[in-house]
Point group: C2
């Protein structure tokens, strides 16, 4: 008998996947389904980026350099400098999405069975990358009661073993919307210095910080150049998820050189996406202002409206475009399926992501869901109303 590998068999499916057939069935019944479960923004890609494709004057779509187009890397270095991250283009490796940057960093710094500590709830696809690299995620729990702030450093320290190689944070955070403060990042610096660890910082939502808060990047920390690896992506920044362009950024030459070897094996990041990413760097302040005001309006509306519903608690996100909601229910997965399968209001329903999938600790987040507020306000309004009406009749 032919068998799958053990890792293949144990590779986790997306926690949303179980819900997809229910959503499809709901649509087949004629219901409108509002997708609060996904992070695909409806925001426009910068026009300069799209125009670059129309203006492309080439006869052959060739490989780019394995580390990415030099001009693009130089443009990115300039962008980073503008936000107080001083790196040269040689500290930047263009990757196929932010996901490849994460995998390359895991491969370069961690042996199979080594451990990376990540505050939970966390972006579920980290589980997939860990499976792929054969490393273990050790969760340190953050709590909705204090809006998912960084867990106390002692909680991290209790989890450190000889196998621990790194801490990974996502800042601003998907799925919680929490923005780590400068003070929290400095605490992490002390932790990694004391225990000789890498700090992986996933900052793909950097541009989405609200209420006058500023983003403090792990790359701004001083004296720990060799410890820090930044994961970045243009997907959310310029609403161009489909280009699959990210970056691994580090001043640690050993890591860059090793990541480059993995990059050479796959030859080249996508050329067309790099062209769009490079030109998108020219998107001006107006672009971000427009995006910002769109998101802040959506956030303010949806979070305030949800908190007005009896027994719902939703922390006000300081960044990204997600929030975790605590609902007056026992089993969020059951509720989410029920919403799709049995409930509708004015011929519509909502798809939510049960938050359990964002926790490693079994049973954690069972009465929580994640929402992405990437839909236009009118749809958000309808979605909130649906949730409100649903909770009135849901019996669990």
């Amino acid at each position: 008998m032919l068998k799958l590998s053990e890792r293949g068999s144990s590779m986790p499916a997306s926690p949303i996947r179980k819900l997809v057939p229910y959503a499809e069935a709901a649509k087949k019944k004629g219901l409108e389904v509002f997708h609060l479960n996904i992070g695909q923004p409806d925001i426009k890609t910068p026009e300069v980026g799209l125009k670059a494709l129309k203006n492309l004057n080439i006869k052959t779509i060739e490989y780019s350099h394995s580390a990415g187009l030099q001009e693009y890397r130089k443009g990115l270095a300039k962008y980073y400098k503008s936000i107080n991250i001083n790196v040269s283009y040689e500290d930047i490796l263009i990757t196929t999405g932010g996901s490849e940057a994460i995998i390359f960093a895991f491969l370069a710094t961690m042996n199979p069975d080594d451990e990376v500590i990540i505050p939970e709830p966390f972006y579920t696809n980290y589980n997939g990358f860990a499976n792929q690299a054969g490393v273990k995620i050790i969760p340190v729990t953050s709590y909705i009661e204090n809006d998912f702030a960084l867990p106390p450093i002692e909680d991290f320290e209790k989890l450190i073993t000889a196998k621990t190689k790194a801490i990974l944070v996502c800042n601003p955070n998907n799925p919680t919307g929490y923005l780590y403060s400068k003070e929290e990042i400095i605490k992490l610096k002390e932790l990694i210095t004391k225990h000789n660890l890498y700090l992986f910082s996933d900052e793909v939502y950097r541009e989405f910080c609200y209420d006058g808060q500023t983003h403090y990047s792990a790359m701004e920390l001083e004296g720990v150049d060799d410890n820090i690896v930044l994961f970045d992506s243009v997907s959310k920044r310029y609403s161009e998820c489909g280009v699959r362009i990210g970056a691994l950024v580090t001043r640690n030459k050993d890591i860059i050189n090793t990541a480059l070897k993995y990059a050479q094996a796959r030859l080249s990041p996508p050329f067309l996406g790099q062209v769009v990413g490079q030109e998108s760097l020219k998107a001006g302040k107006e672009y971000f202002d427009e995006v910002y005001s769109e998101y802040i309006e959506r956030r303010n509306y949806v979070i305030n409206a949800l908190n007005k519903i009896k027994d719902i608690y939703a922390p006000m996100p300081k960044g990204a475009f997600y929030s975790i909601l605590r609902l007056p229910i026992e089993d969020a997965e059951h509720f989410c399926i029920w919403l799709l399968e049995e409930f509708s209001y004015k011929n519509a329903t909502v798809m939510l992501a049960p938050a359990g999938g964002f926790y490693s600790t079994k049973g954690a987040g069972k009465n929580e869901v994640r929402i992405a507020y990437v839909l236009e306000k009118e749809k958000l309004k309808k979605s909130v109303k649906i949730i409100e009406e649903a909770l009135k009749v849901y019996k669990h």
Copy 2:
């Protein structure tokens, strides 16, 4: 002290990499360097593919489905049917280059330390993918004396252990240009059936078969649906290496479903590349006829001319656009560096790939180099002349 991982430290660099500084120095000295070392074709991408980018009418570059655009997968299924590979679009997962298809197949079917047997010399990047997946490549040597035909099945059988999970062949072969016959593929079928193994077939050069030979795909084998995984890519077929679009094709539902989970973790293959790939399917017979006649002319010229040089032997490739040459020298790497560092003829020199890097067996292929005949004929002519003159004065 922060350390790299063991796999990171042992990740092989591209065998060409050592030569790159010498090539750069040669160019700085003002020499023209003819790159026979790389597989970046100068052939044009189909115009329909390029036009698709200009005609793209979207506001947001969104993720595609993790398995790829359904319309593209359906188009591919039709293409496969036209070449006698009967698959449905559900047997096809669009990957980021052929390389991702290989990694997904390794992950899905092999545990760390499991073994895959590959005829050597083989495409060096397989080493990188094996490192990434933590699996071992066991080489079975093929020989230039019989033009790198499939090694005897007994040679494979001697290498099979409890850890052996798969055989991997590249057909037509990079780096040898060998095209496996239907009889050879059927022998492999008997082998995998007898020993319960997977057969991974890398067929990215399928369209490049010469002298009236036809390609027999492993996917045409009957009764072994669950054993076969096909790796494909549009890079060479349509000369669009930079789009990074490949495919994993198998009728084994367990593998497709598992590969899809890895695909979901990275969200989506490049959208723009898929658009180009999809439209390129419309490239007509004229396109391939033109490409074919270009390559066959180059091949015939360069292989015949090289074989006329004293003590050079180059098998006449039946497919792809590579050949391995046996040279009257002792150490090909030394010769290749010497060509760049110390030799020139009419203010030009050539960059060749030492073949040692394509073998796993230590010392094998030491007097061999790989060439890619992807340059236009005039450059090939000059290159041959340079090699001829170089061998007259080279002293090792």
